[in-house]
């Protein structure tokens, strides 16, 4: 049985390359929230640390749907890539060793999106992470009925 105090230790075992299993287990890494700008767009940074084969944060939370300006950093000593969800087409960027780029994404909300590195040898490993859009749909898109109980 897991007790609460063990949770962080156990997560650390799951959240990296060649630890509990070969790659980091999905959803076990760090979590961060995007910053909202005055104009309603959002910004955040995602990063591949050295020899980790993960994205940091593993879960990026957006406060609402809309436009996200991402800074993307590869601090690893290997070449990776990033294929991100966005309305219209997926957004692709190649990330050679020690490189930095950016992406602009448009995402609906609420909902959970996944992205990863489509480079050879990366797929299926820990380089898969989530962008989680929180919030509600616009008021005009809600059903005309009293508030309902939720789980």
């Amino acid at each position: 049985m897991t007790i609460v105090q063990e949770r962080e230790d156990l997560l650390a075992e799951l959240g990296g390359q060649n630890k509990a299993t070969i790659g980091a287990v999905l959803g076990t890494g760090s979590i961060a929230k995007a910053t909202e700008r005055a104009d309603g767009t959002m910004e955040a940074t995602i990063r591949i640390p050295e020899d980790a084969m993960v994205w940091e944060p593993a879960v990026l939370i957006l406060p609402h749907a809309g436009t996200l300006e991402l800074t993307i950093i590869n601090d690893d000593k290997n070449t990776h890539a990033c294929l991100l969800p966005s309305n219209g087409d997926k957004q692709f960027i190649s990330l050679v060793n020690h490189s930095k780029g950016s992406a602009t994404l448009e995402l609906d909300g609420p909902g959970c999106y996944w992205y990863g590195s489509p480079a050879g040898n990366d797929e299926g490993r820990g380089l898969t992470a989530a962008i989680v859009v929180t919030g509600e749909v616009p008021p005009e898109a809600k059903l005309d009925r009293p508030a309902q109980p939720r789980p």
Partner: protein
Amino acid sequence: MTLEYVDAGKAFNHGQLSQLPHSAPDVTRGIDYERILRARDESQNWITYYGDYDGKRHSLLDQVNAENAKDLKVAWIFQASATGMIASTSTYAFEACPLIVDGVMFVTGWDGWLWALDAKTGEQLWRYKHAIPIDVTLCCANVNRGCAVANGKVYMVTQNAQLVALDATNGRKIWQKTIGDVRAGESASIAPLVIKDMLITGSAGGEYGVRGHIDAWDLETGEQRWRTYTVPKPGEPGSETWPADGEAWQRGGGNHWVTGTYDPELNLYYAGTGNPAPDFDGAVREGDNLYTDSVVALDVDTGEIKWHYQFTPHDLWDYDSTMEMTLFERDGKKLLAHFDKNGYMFVLDRTNGELQHVTPFVDRIDWGVITRDGKVTPRKYPDKEGEPCHFFPGPAGAKEWTHASYNPEHDLFYVPVADVGATATRRRREFKEGMPYWGAAVEVDVDNMAGSVSAFDSHGEEKWRYRLNNMPMAASTLSTAGNVVFAGTPTGEFLALHAETGEKLWSFQCGSGHHSSPSTYTVDGKQYIAVPVGWGGWLEGIVPGMSGQGHGAALIVFSL
């Protein structure tokens, strides 16, 4: 010492790493209401979901005919890809009906895809990919049934309940509207229909206890023109068919998730509605539960319900009535035919909803009886908590959403028939938003299945039947003036049948099961038949014995 980062630049559209030209001729610019009114006359094209407003799925093309259909060959194949994690991975399917306009094909896929293809060569011209959350609530698969075209644009809904208008020449988004609440369990899979200067859509999610609705949107701006709920509020007409003191209407279902048909002279849009919620537990929603399992005839300008006819009052078997309402004429009368999940064919006077006659169209029906004059007597239904009840047809129905076609020359409907039973055991649960709200444990029969393409005249008399080998039909049929009926099977055969006899003229093994709507067109005088092939969908309901068959993701086009 800090090393400067190598500049990786800015992420760009993945489609740039391809040979796509990212452009298409401006073929939808000239498509408007007037042209769609005469859609069947421009038989070289297929410019609206059913090929015409009347829902007949009948083409006047006859270059491919009963004599030469045996010579059909593959003209080209478009292979779509399904990579990475997507919502409802195990149930995605290729359910669309391709539209064709002057040599350009527009076809939608699962997970937010829309492709523009050269209809002669299959070359991909441009593509659009809407980002779909992996956790979006979908009942019962990651699917889309098609798009609409007009005024230089292409329109489609997305699985996460968005409506998008795209530039038909390059796939770039012009506007987007949120048309449903994904937290409530709403989604969208319907092919929009252009009527006048509006788009008509409906919602999906009846298995989650939403309140169904039909909407009209401005073609140019996306502004909402009207919304009509298919479950009335207390005090509204029809509300007397719901418990007076309860909350059942708030979660009543009745979703419009398959495109309706339209009579321009009557100005009526005929919308089929889905099951009430919870599907199998009727005790929490006593009454007939209008307007679930019905056809509602809406004034297309206002959304007002002018008349309705309910095919399964107080449904306890999940017998949606969303599938097509085929408009036809007989003896000078304006009629509507509907093949319902409940196993019966209904013919109505479409001016007022008056029933003409009812006829069973599947061999095994034991849930209840509907007499020829429409009297409904339920016989078997999940009633007592925990007590299994087996019934025919199962919840996927004697005909699922996939469409019949109608050849007016022969007065014959070509119906994809499914003959599969199921067991439902009532298991009451309290309602929680976004959670499945069935009210039963359901198991569809894995064996003892049957199915056919069956031809019925408009009086309900069966004229011929092409039997499948112990398998239900799960794809739309296509009728042509060449005296050929096209139909795809769950095991992958694409069939050409003789329209008057049902004789098999030709078949091609497509490598995956069929769960879509084929269409036909010509380019440079040559006739083509296009069929999306990609097995999937609510297979545990339709044909659970084929749910491990595997997926496909191709569009195959045939010609002589």
